[in-house]
């Protein structure tokens, strides 16, 4: 049996504040008493603590952004080039050569509306899943709420998402496509759902990854496979009606379908599908957080 348990950390104001008032008081620190003791089972989220460590969250995000395009010639242009190139390739091979239908809108804009969310999802999932092992040495040497590690790489790619969205807006203007009002309203919600899915799955995989490094190698295949079972390059209509429920279980299906129908106005929004996505994404997120918190205590020992 695993004998290691998580520390129970209780933070509360302490009467002994005066006792230390003779010492220099540093920044906004309030005198706290920390109790470290073994604890077992599911651990709740310490929101207060996360808030205290927000600066660490910013700096990790800042580091990831800063480092990403270091020592590259075209730098941030990669953020534009990557989705555009992917769109061009997909348009040539899937839209052109393979002749995949695209709900009666030009294939480039059809596939880009899917890639918009898909790229965010895959970058975020990949970043989150590898976040613990990439910061292994920090985990072993410094304490902080570990949740910061997978959350930071799921939030920073939102910047890339927004860049890609600007490209998308340009394309919509070029193809004279007008988004529906409901599509615009739903847009932030879809981004939120993508975040929940990527973060939930990412936290779970990050925690598994630190014990079984197999994840690191299996992940690229997993993400690639997921691309093909998500209607990014093809419309759901291509899949037989009786398998739709299977597609719907993947929260990204609902997100991408809703984005497509809402932004391109190809057909009415399938709110059932969106609701299923919402539920599965939220469930994934909650499961991810709890699994992560439960295993968090042994990270430093098994990393």
């Amino acid at each position: 049996m695993d004998k290691t348990r998580s520390p129970k950390v209780i933070l509360h104001g302490n009467n002994s504040f005066q006792l230390f008032s003779s010492l220099p008081v540093f920044h906004d620190v309030t005198m706290t008493e920390i109790i470290i003791s073994p604890r077992k089972g599911w651990v709740g989220i310490n929101g207060k603590e996360l808030w205290r460590y927000r600066e660490l969250f910013y700096i990790f995000s800042w580091r990831d952004i800063k480092v990403r395009y270091k020592q590259t010639v075209i730098g941030v242009l990669w953020a534009i080039l990557q989705p555009v190139l992917l769109m061009v390739i997909f348009s040539i091979f899937f839209g052109g050569l393979a002749g995949i239908p695209s709900d009666d809108v030009p294939y480039p804009i059809f596939v880009f509306s899917g890639l918009l969310f898909w790229n965010y999802f895959s970058i975020a999932l990949n970043g989150a899943s590898n976040s613990l092992i990439e910061n292994e040495n920090i985990i072993k040497k410094i304490y902080f709420p570990r949740l910061i590690l997978p959350l930071s790489p799921t939030i920073t790619p939102i910047i890339d998402f927004l860049i890609a969205f600007v490209i998308f807006a340009v394309m919509m203007a070029y193809y004279h496509t007008v988004p529906t009002l409901i599509g615009i309203i739903l847009f932030p919600i879809l981004l939120l759902l993508s975040f929940l899915t990527a973060a939930g799955l990412g936290m779970f995989l990050a925690a598994v990854n630190i014990r079984y490094r197999d994840i690191r190698y299996a992940l690229p295949f997993f993400i690639q496979t997921l691309l093909f079972v998500t209607p990014v390059i093809y419309p759901t209509t291509l899949v037989g009606q009786k398998y739709h429920w299977l597609l719907a279980l993947n929260p990204m299906t609902g997100i991408i379908e809703t984005a497509r129908t809402g932004l391109l106005g190809t057909k009415p929004i399938d709110f059932n599908l969106l609701a299923i996505s919402g539920v599965t994404a939220t469930a994934l997120f909650i499961f991810g957080i709890f699994y992560f918190q439960k295993t968090e205590r042994v990270f430093a020992d098994i990393a």
């Binding site: 290691t4 220099p24 580091r63 800063k66 270091k70 410094i142 197999d214």
Partner: protein, 424 residues
Amino acid sequence: MQQPIIEVKNLSKCYTISHRLSYNTFRDTLTELAKRPFRLLTERQKEKEEFWALKNINLSIAAGEKIGIIGRNGAGKSTLLKILSQITPPTTGEIRLRGRVASLLEVGTGFHPELTGRENIYLNGTILGMKRREIKKKFDEIVAFAEIEKFLDTPVKRYSSGMYVRLAFAVAAHLEPEILLVDEVLAVGDAQFQKKCLGKMEEIGKNGKTILFVSHNMGAIESLCTSCLILEHGNLLIKSNDVRKVVQQYLNSQINSKTQWTKLPSIDTNPWFIPERIELRDIGGNQVISTIRNDQPYYLYLTGTIAELNPLLTIGYAFYTENGTLLFWSFQTDSHEKNWPRLQVGTNTLVTKIPAHLLNEGEYHIEFISAIYFRQWLYEPGRSSVSMKLTVQGGLSGSLYWTAKRPGVIAPIMKWESVNHRLR
């Protein structure tokens, strides 16, 4: 009476050691799962072993105390610091910390090679628990301390290792927690910088901070700490305000009282060099049993086995004084390459001469050290378990004026001549 700033009650930490050599992969787990129904429970228990890194530690530390923690490698020092800094949870027991803790278990944690010095100051500072505002305020001070003004906007991957360490320590030195946990970070940098770091630590200590300081450097412990404790096999052996006494007790327990060392059945595994036997012999080839005289040379015989020849292998010894000050290192590769002793696969015995009139009277200890040059230590100085004691007594000099131990760690006899001013 003030409440103690750190209270440790019945603290224990158990690690489970898995005896499987293979890496934790899904495959292993799956095969194990397949085996499980067929294997008996006893078999499984054999595979895992409990290791108690800390056993029932009770400790109470007053605010402002500066505690040195000493003990051999694996005695639980680092585990204690890790639990105190919440990196790993205890197995049993409870700790109450009544102050903000900063732990310095490593210099430069989180440094990113691609980022500049300036950026890394912010990154590392935040990781260590400083606020942005605080870093901004101390920024110039940190840069000045690290002496890297000119390279502030250079990525740290282009820094020399000295600059890197200086910058890392400078950030850490400007932390201002109530409790500072420090693990051997002073073992880096050149002597001058080490002195500066010690000075900074002293300054931090004077400001009323509580410091827990793990080190193998007894000199640093003695000059910095107001109390000292020894950990041995996870037990708290002694804690006292008489730092000197504790250090002496530790050193005495450390030194093998014989002038010979023979390999114990151990778990040492490296293909390059495993020491089997170390002994001292006099000029006639007889083994030295107790003390040696200073007017004769003597020879250190080093026997060990090599399974795989590595051209980067360095074998040598470190010479320490009674109170743990390093006198010198010597390696078989110190001279020109053409003079290096030849090594072969199998058993090798190397002999090295320690000249007469080098040491003073007193006790010394010799420690076997070995490394793969610039890659890794095989037997690291200050941590290696292979050491032996040496007593020098008598034979200091032929002079009537020099009959007793001189001040100073060595007592060479220098040559004196007169250069008379004949031409005047």
